[in-house]
């Protein structure tokens, strides 16, 4: 979103290196993410785009051998600082995974999970409201409102993924990270999610990793192209797809490799 023609930067990554043990997975990544826009990260498999995404909510902490160097500023605060509270960080930065991963609990409990952990709702009524609005925003409410207390694992794949989106937005995150959210879904469910992403960007900054260049072109305003752990090029989606500066980007987008 531009205020008075000035780009509002939400996330600023500076010289990010990531290592898995001794193997370096990301080299010197510097990337600015615009607020209330969709940024797509594209590139061939194993290029490090998912790794970069996982740096943004420090999900790489979960992997023992993974270490991250460099600065990632979110609202001008370096999340790689020792003083960063990971729990608060992940409250602000939600994440949706490649494979729908609803908890083996009821739909209601799935959505109320985050608010319960962060103590957001003061009363049962408030929680009900949060669950309802989250499901509505995830365009799932109409389909499930009569079976909120059935297990979330009983939904179809597309519904499960929207449930995971509802779960992610239940704590009103500022940023939503999506790691190939449609790769396990059929075209109809994919279209629904893409529509949803467009809707969600009004309130959230969205970063999406995708293998489908068509999807990147459809949903994103900005695109970054990763190759072999390096950020080759980034800029507006229009420019990357129509008139890339780098030869590699052009080759990838025209399908010559990857």
């Amino acid at each position: 979103m531009r205020k008075n023609g000035v780009k509002m930067i939400k996330i600023k990554a500076k010289d990010v290196d990531v290592f898995y043990g001794k193997k370096q997975a990301l080299f010197n990544i510097s990337l600015d993410i615009e607020e209330n826009q969709v940024t797509a990260l594209i590139g061939p498999s194993g290029c490090g785009k998912s790794t970069f995404l996982r740096c943004l909510n420090r999900m790489n902490d979960v992997i023992d051998i993974c270490s991250v160097k460099g600065e990632i500023l979110i609202n001008d605060f370096n999340i790689n600082d020792k003083g960063c509270d990971v729990v608060r960080l992940r409250e602000k930065i939600g994440m949706v995974f490649q494979k729908p991963n609803p908890f083996p609990k009821t739909l209601y409990e799935n959505v109320s999970y985050g608010p319960t952990i962060h103590g957001i709702a003061q009363s049962k009524q408030e929680m009900d409201e949060i669950v309802e609005t989250s499901l509505k925003k995830a365009a799932l409410w109409e389909e499930v409102k009569d079976r909120l207390h059935e297990p979330g694992t009983g939904l179809s794949g597309g519904q499960q993924q929207r449930l995971c989106i509802a779960r992610a937005i239940s704590v009103r995150p500022e940023v939503i990270l999506m790691d190939e959210p449609c790769s396990a879904l059929d075209p109809i469910a994919t279209a629904q999610i893409e529509e949803l992403i467009d809707e969600l960007k009004k309130e959230h900054t969205i970063i999406i990793v995708t293998h489908s260049m068509a999807q990147a072109a459809r949903v994103s305003q900005n695109t970054g192209f990763f190759h072999l752990g390096q950020l080759i090029e980034h800029g507006s989606t229009d420019k990357i797809f129509k008139n890339p500066d780098n030869k590699k980007t052009q080759d990838y987008i025209t399908g010559r490799f990857g």
């Binding site: 990971v86 962060h118 694992t153």
Partner: protein, 461 residues
Amino acid sequence: MNLILFTFIVLLGFTSYYFGRKKAYTIQSTKKRLTALPQFYGYYLAIWCAIPAFIIFSLWAIFEPSIVKLLILSDYSNQGYLDDELNLIYEKTKALSRGQFTGEITPFIEASAEKYLSLRSIAQSSKVVIVLSAIIASVAYAYKRISSNSRTREPVEKFLNAVLFTASLAAILTTVGIVFSLIFQTIDFFKVIPLFDFVFGTHWYPAKAFVRDSSEALDPTMYSDTFGAVPIFAGTFFIAFIAMCVAIPIGLMSGIYLAEYASIKVRQYAKPLIEILAGIPTVVYGFFAALTVGPFLKELGTSMGLEVSAESALAAGGVMGIMIIPFISSLSDDVITSVPQSLRDGSYAMGATKSETIKRVIFPAALPGIVGSILLGVSRAIGETMIVVMASGLAANLTLNPLESTSTITAQIVVILIGDQAFGDPKTQAAFALGMSLFLVTLCLNIVALRVVKRYREKYE
């Protein structure tokens, strides 16, 4: 003799494998395509060697003794012997032929013994001849028959199928046999002792049955108030309860630690170390409980002014609990580890801490498997014998005081069956009745446990 023959047949089997394969290679070298890999031709011939040998051996084992007996006893027919006497004569003959007969040797029996020996040697040598010629004939027949397009793969696969089926059948039949032997003895027991007295009687004193003079007729009334199983059932469940109080919390927590908190390095060493506990023989646990824990508890209790029996239920149950820890810890570690990583990621990404994730997501997801592991632990606790025999005493007290001694089903079975015992005696049969009830309890527990575990599996596969 049989051993040599058997070794020889095995060698023949290898040889026919070799020839079958060789023939296949020869066919292959003429650029013909075989219907199966050359090994299959070899296996096929080996099977043609094994099957006739097996059939002849079994027939021999079934019929040879009765035929020899018939031939020997034919000399004694028409002499007015009764069946029992004939059997006795045959046994004497056999004993004499082995040189183990000590009684009076009559010329008749001596002659029979000689005849017996000669019959046996004839049988033996004809067996060798028949087996070997049958094998050679069948292998030769098969060898001639195999060609580039003969089907060898299917028979070999079918044969393997049959062998594996026989193996599992043997296991199943054994189980059925054991259960039936339990059932019949149990039924006999309940003919003397009413079921009601057994299930609801509160006094267990089988030693009373010893006092009976064997010449006296069996008098059911004198057994009333002797075989009341309530105290030992109560003791069994009580000790199992104490054991689970130790095993569940420690096992579960160590399982969670291993699965979620321990680093790869720690896990690598800690898991085998904990599993060593499962490898300690229960006898060792038994004397640990009887000689170390029991006296220690007694001293500790005495210093606090409590009256503690040296053979307390607490000592036995506690040590039994330690024995069960590795089962629960290892099984629950496995179920927790098999909860998909994506669920953990989902929870962490919502900002949940490790303990919140475990409590709210992983534990509920793994709960069915954990319950299954606990039930398996319980059935082990109930079936455990050695620790109880050594550490908890043999007197069947009906008590809920963990500091007193009590006894269990398994311990009582041991008490009853140690030393001399008469078959058909209610005291001996009581052991079968106890065994039967123990079997039923653990069977139910295992069924429930397997059901629970299965339902869990269906969820993620």
